[in-house]
Structure formats: structure tokens, C-alpha cells
Amino acid sequence: MKYTYVIKRILYSLFVFAVVITLNFFIPRIGVDDPAERYYPPQGNMSEIEYEIIKQVTRQQYGFHVSTGQQYMNYLKGLFQGDLGTSFRPGSPAVIDLILERLPWTLVLSVSTMLIGVTIGILFGVLAAVKRGRWQDTMLLNASTIMVALPAFFIALILSFYLGFELEIFPAYTDSTMVSGFTWTWEGIRRVAQNAALPVLSMVVGSIISYAQGTRNAVIAVTNEDFVLTARAKGLKQSTIRYKHILRNSMLPIVTSLGMSISGLIGGQVVIEQVFNWNGMGTLFLEANNSNDYPLMMGIMLLLSGFTIFAILVTDLVYVLLDPRVTVGDKR
């Protein structure tokens, strides 16, 4: 029963991914007959003939000279070989290389934010639920009210100004030599950590509080369930009830939100990266957007959606391990 479910989920994910690939290919081609026109709009005082020549060359270079169907097949073929296309940037770099160059730097921020956010958030959430109605709980409630009103980029600006410019504890923005001069030495890692401190800090506060709030609510909801009363009536110790009965059941909604945020790991934070001049995926996407670099945008979109589908699949499969009820639909 379990295997049918797993296979079903995998097949379903593959189907969704195929749809995404197709949409990702066709949407930029809607409306304009000649993609070259869309990708290279006429510039300045270009003559008709000059523009025609440029379009011809562009079509040749990027494979638009064949029919759309043929292009689609070529695109798919490229995907299977790990080729996401060629960027419009000078020198025509491969999209996949551009992405791989930026991805690690985005992961530095997102993974550390998530790890800190999840660990501290869940601990706080459990604490607030256990001390329900007391000052720890009230503090969490107030903090989340404030956080809802404070967007991360605002915190980023404040941190950058005070901890960066005024107190000079951390770099207010990333200096460009961090990436180019990076080496796998303690010194290199220390520099990255230093530069990452403020961006991570400005995102992690919200992350901690949202996980804490989610955990608190989940734990309290489970605490009011009938089976907790049963566990108490059985004379079980408080600790047994808390860990064996309440926490495991409260983890179910938390795993879901965890899965959702895993999908956000590689997307990067457009705004935060801008504030701190951090060269990650968010900045790359912004650059691609501003320069009409469609192959690059398509490449990033495809990677993001593919990873999201993957993250949801993993979440669903982890759920099977945690919650025996999940397979019930396939029992027949």
C-alpha cells in the first residue's frame, strides 16, 4: 500500500514537472511571432536592414531559425543533457553556469537562516505552548504582532545602518572581493560569515517567530485533543505525554511548513540581496529581468519550479513515515 502511494506521488510530480517545462517554454513565445524580436528589441538609430541582419544572426545563434515544435524538441533534448540554454549576455555564457556560480552564495544565506530559524523557532514554540498564558507566551505573541508589521527589508535597512554604518560591527554591505577572492581557508570562511551576518540576521528574526508561532499553535491544538486526556487518564508521566503523544502529533503541520520553506531555499531573497549587495540568485533574476535575458529567466524559473515540486514530493514522502493515516486512500 505504501509503495503504491510513493510511486503514485513520484509519477504525479513528474507529470507536474513536464507541464511546468512546457509552460516555461511556451509562455515567453506567446504573442510575438519572432522570439528574436522580443529578445532583441530594435535599438537606437538602427536601420531596417541592420535590424533584419541582427535578427537573422540571433535566430541562428539561439536556434530560433527552426519551427517552434522543433525548438521545443531541441529544448527538451538540451534539458536532458543539463543544458538550460544560452544567456543573451556578452560572451553567450551557458545559463546553467551563471546559475551554478550564484547558487552557493544564495544557499549560504537561505540555509543558515532556515537552520537557525527552525531550531530556535521550534524550541521557542514548544516553550510558549508549555508556558501558555504566561510571560514567555505573551512575549511570543507580541513579537509576532510586531514582526507582521515589520517587513524583512525594513529590518535589513535598520541593521545595515546601525550595526553596519554607525557601530561598524559587521560590514554594512558585501564587498565585491568576497566572492572573487574566496578561498577554502578559515580566513575565507570567516569573511563570508562576517558578510552574511546582517542579511541572515534580518531574515532570521521573522523566520524564528513564524516557526515559533506555528509550533506553539500546533502543540496547543494537539494538547486539547481527546487522546491527550486518555494519556493522562492512563497515569502516564508528564514527560511521556509531552514527547510521545503531543510532540509527535504536533510535528505534522510543522513538517508541511518546513517543506514549503525548503522550496524557497534556492530562490534567493531579491530585496535582502539588493540591500546588502549580495550576489545571489535573487540578484541574478533581477539582472536577467532588467536586461530582457529570457533564456536566463527561463532557466531560473525552471530550476525554481523543479525544486519546489521536488520539495513538496519529499514533504509528502516524509509525511508517510510520520503519519500512518496518509496511505488510507490507497488501502482498497
Partner: protein, 327 residues
């Protein structure tokens, strides 16, 4: 008969934003050795709160509980520490809940949930506990107990789940079992089977039983003594036969008249006029007077005391009904 449980003057109050809810008001309860006592009443009359108070499961806050004595098996447990209560619960008194689906942990196998009882109270290892669990499930009439023990609650039928709860409650052969609406969530045929098992187990194990229910047919088939509760107070107490033969409180009479019978010629249900008073706004005098056809000025002003009627009967009414009619 030396009582196993002697509850004296139990009061439970819930302070809420829209007034103080007096869920239980001065309830006395006696349960004899091997006796089955039924606590009957409508939803919200305080019967579940009373039963959970006996095991001291009502948490305060939010509730405020006051009690003169909870004498259980010769000891007063009202001042027991939470730790002492934990030792007692499950081992000497245990509970069966109404909805077995929600009363069992959905992510633990039922076997593991029963194992917990033996591991906690008899110091058994996991393996010893499982052997006892399988025996208990077999005793309770669950087919293929060893495989069933590895099932999760959602994989069992409603009747099987209820049997699992029974096996759990009887696991450590407690002196007292409190069954809170044990058959309400089941369909009628399964109800009868589960009740039969419950009664058989109770007699076989020499356990006393406090049965909380609103179902008079369940009461008739299993109880020895019946307490009728209305709006937080006991209104009538009687041996089961006497209660059914000659109910004395107008509320009890109304309850019995409301049970539909196959021989009924009329096409509508008989019901008690009016509704249960809101627990935060109870009427003056006797709580039942707005719905009582015999109410007098005295009933409107003064709450009648529980008055002994002889033969172990007590009734909270100035004008108890006799077999022949009123007064």
C-alpha cells in the same frame, strides 16, 4: 457494602468572560465494591465534569474545584500530589472515553498504547508488556489480537477501537473504571456487544463501574444504582429497578417518557418542554421549575434539598411523584 468511592460535596466552577459557569454543584456520589453506578443526564448537565473530577483530570486553571472528600479505596485522594495521582490513574482507577477514534493517539499502534499501561504501572519491559497486551485484547474479544496490536486506530472499526479502549482500561485490573458514554459513538448492534463485554469484564474482574451516559436503555441493562443529574445537581438517586418502576422526580419522569417505544401509537416524540438553562444563568429556586408542570411558588423561590425517601432513594423535589401520580 463498603464503598470504593465516596465523593462529598464536589463543586466545579469555570470562570468565563460571560459569567461564572457552575458546572457541578455539591455533588455526593457513592460507589460500592463491584457496583455499577450510572450517572444520567442531558449534555451539559455536568456529568462528564463530575466523572473527570473523580480522577482529578479537570485542570485548574481554567476550572476551580472544591471538594470535601474524594475517598477512594479507604484513602482521601483530594490532596494527593500530581505525582501520586499519576501513580493512581490507570493502575487503580481508569477511564473509558466516548469517541475511541479521537481518544486513541492516531500515530501510535494500539498495541503500543496498551503496552504503555503495563510498562508504566507494572514495570514491564516492552516484550513482557506486549505479551500481556495480546492477552488483554484476546480477553476483550478482539479477533487476531497479535496482528491487531500492530494496527493503527484508523485501521480498526469503531467497535474494535472501543474494545481497545476497554482492554486499556482493564489492563491493570483497577478498582474503579469510569466509562464516559462508552457506547454513544457506536451503532446499536455494536453497542450491545460492547456493553455485554463491559459488563462481563466488570463482573469478572471485580471492578466497580461508574457509567456516565444519557442513554436510559444502557442504564437499564447494566446499572445497579442510578444518579440523575440536572444542571449541575443530583436530582434523584435510586436503585435501578425502583427508578424505572416509579421515577419520583418530574425530570426523571420526563426523561423516561421521552424514550420512544415500538408500541407507541402517536406519531410525535414526547419531550420535556423548554430547554436546559444556560449554565451561567440558572433560574432561581429549583433549577427545573421553568419546565416542570407541577411547579409552585415554593419551587420558584427555594432550591429543594435532596430528601431521603427510604430504600436507598433520594430525590430533590418538594413534591416527589409516587407510583400513582403526583402527591
Amino acid at each position: 457494602m463498603e464503598p470504593i468511592l465516596k465523593l462529598r460535596n464536589l463543586k466545579v466552577v469555570f470562570p468565563t468572560n460571560y459569567g461564572v459557569i457552575r458546572a457541578v454543584e455539591s455533588v455526593d456520589l457513592d460507589i460500592g465494591d463491584r457496583e455499577c453506578v450510572a450517572l444520567v443526564g442531558e449534555s451539559g448537565c455536568g456529568k462528564s465534569v463530575t466523572s473527570q473530577s473523580v480522577m482529578r483530570l479537570i485542570e485548574s486553571p481554567p476550572a476551580l474545584t472544591q471538594v470535601d472528600a474524594i475517598e477512594f479505596n479507604g484513602r482521601d485522594i483530594k490532596d494527593y500530589t500530581p505525582k501520586q495521582m499519576q501513580e493512581l490513574r490507570g493502575k487503580e482507577m481508569s477511564m473509558i472515553f466516548q469517541d475511541a477514534m479521537t481518544s486513541l493517539n492516531p500515530v501510535m499502534t494500539v498495541g503500543n498504547q496498551i503496552d504503555e499501561m503495563y510498562m508504566r504501572h507494572q514495570g514491564d519491559s516492552k516484550k513482557e508488556a506486549r505479551e500481556k497486551t495480546v492477552k488483554a485484547l484476546e480477553l476483550i474479544g478482539l479477533p487476531e489480537p497479535r496482528t491487531r496490536a500492530n494496527s493503527f486506530p484508523h485501521q480498526l472499526s469503531g467497535g474494535m477501537r472501543q474494545r481497545v479502549l476497554l482492554a486499556m482500561a482493564f489492563a491493570c485490573m483497577p478498582k474503579l473504571i469510569i466509562a464516559d458514554e462508552p457506547t454513544t459513538a457506536l451503532d446499536v448492534t455494536i453497542q450491545a456487544q460492547v456493553l455485554k463485554t463491559l459488563r462481563g469484564m466488570q463482573r469478572g474482574c471485580g471492578t466497580s463501574l461508574l457509567l456516565v451516559t444519557h442513554d436510559l436503555s444502557v442504564v437499564a441493562s447494566i446499572a445497579d444504582t442510578v444518579y440523575v443529574m440536572y444542571s449541575g445537581k443530583i436530582v434523584e438517586k435510586a436503585p435501578v429497578k425502583d427508578l424505572f418502576n416509579s421515577p419520583q422526580h418530574p425530570y426523571t419522569v420526563g426523561l423516561m417518557a421521552a424514550v420512544p417505544r415500538l408500541t407507541d401509537k402517536k406519531k410525535t416524540f414526547t419531550q420535556i418542554p423548554g430547554t436546559v438553562p444556560h449554565p451561567a444563568r440558572k433560574p432561581s429556586g429549583c433549577y427545573f421549575h421553568p419546565r416542570c408542570e407541577y411547579a409552585t411558588d415554593k419551587c420558584r423561590k427555594e432550591m429543594p434539598p435532596l430528601m431521603g425517601q427510604g430504600g436507598g432513594r433520594e430525590v430533590r423535589c418538594y413534591y416527589p411523584l409516587t407510583a400513582g401520580g403526583n402527591m
